[in-house]
Subunit: 253 residues, 2 copies
Amino acid sequence: MRIVLLGSGNVATQLALALKAIGEEIVQVYSPNLVNAEALARLVEAVAINNLSQVEQQADLYIISVKDDAIGDVAKGLNGVSGLVVHTSGTTDISILSGQVKRAGVFYPLQTFSKGRNVSFKHIPLCLEAEEQDLILLQQLADKLSSKVYELDGEKRKVLHLAAVFACNFPNHLYALANQILQQHNLDFDIVRPLIAETADKVMVNLPDNVQTGPAIRGDERTMDKHLTMLSNLPELQEIYQTLSNSIKITHK
Amino acid sequence: MRIVLLGSGNVATQLALALKAIGEEIVQVYSPNLVNAEALARLVEAVAINNLSQVEQQADLYIISVKDDAIGDVAKGLNGVSGLVVHTSGTTDISILSGQVKRAGVFYPLQTFSKGRNVSFKHIPLCLEAEEQDLILLQQLADKLSSKVYELDGEKRKVLHLAAVFACNFPNHLYALANQILQQHNLDFDIVRPLIAETADKVMVNLPDNVQTGPAIRGDERTMDKHLTMLSNLPELQEIYQTLSNSIKITHK
């Protein structure tokens, strides 16, 4: 498959490397910033471009992997192509493309991508949306990348993206707050790392409701009061502690 | 070392198995409920007792691993022994023991223990507190169990316990809320498991502040508004979404 990649951020980079690794041909990498386009193009032996008028018109697949706000503008620049055009966004409707291009789809990898951290696509859920033949095309590609391929419509994809904020972005921020508490007392973050690993590991085989631990689920008001007192110099954390503890109590009552 | 274990819950069970595995001798397991004492005693070839008057007086170490509220009462029953008496609680002061027994200490394993899930003590941080010779004794035992042994006073141990609520109990509850959102739309929890694993894995080598992702840190108000609208039938989750998103924005501004 001859692929044009539009974007050069974390998702675009990881996806480009994964596609290259399974033997797909990335013909061009587009970014409005040519330096960024070149950096990624070099990694996957593609041609770097920074103007949508330069886009190769005969590719099989165009992957738009840019900030949500910019998808529409990039799609406009692809209105002449006959290949399939997909975006990689969890929250953006497929209609942002289908108004602009002949064949539209979505190729949403459900994962958290950070600069400088390579991820294996093998176990990344890939969520696809497209019409009939194009869906088959995307499925064939996705199956080569990952063992977890889902067909999801736009509504379900948006629900999944929302759930991902609760499953990933918020837990990571709570790790950061734990670190803030530790630092205030000259304790190293390293001491809670095994706990974080085990907490995530437990829900690989259990549902989280079945393995909840801690003072809130035990109804241990004394410990919770002590904790709230300890947080009196961090009112923002105190509020979070209260809100989440109440939610645990409500869920398990 | 001849050890008497007082308690038969999750922590007591995992600790007993780990101690047995490194060749320590557990002479007795105490629980007010004899059936519980017997179940654990059988696993580690100990004698089950349900009355503190039956406690062997000549053991080297007495480990009190019961609910925080019950530690004081159990300690009272040990006031004749000359061996070292420790509790395993993160939030309880050593003084609850030192008022009752000659030699007091703390042996706090920082981990989340759930029924039916065996954990390896190899990488569990063990947090110790005791006076001189007794501290050395605990360190020797702890070093055999784990590669992560810390000496921490009561204040730091309590801070650590509070941080653990943020690093473990709250993230697990957020996994549960993610599942609640998914279930409402007939999506399986399995789809977010790789994301949870990667989120935890990332902070094994990074600090969480450096790998935060999601709409809040991007300042993506449009996506956050969409998410809040989607949560309008779950006001409790809406509040949590708002509180944590604000906290991410404040932390990273």
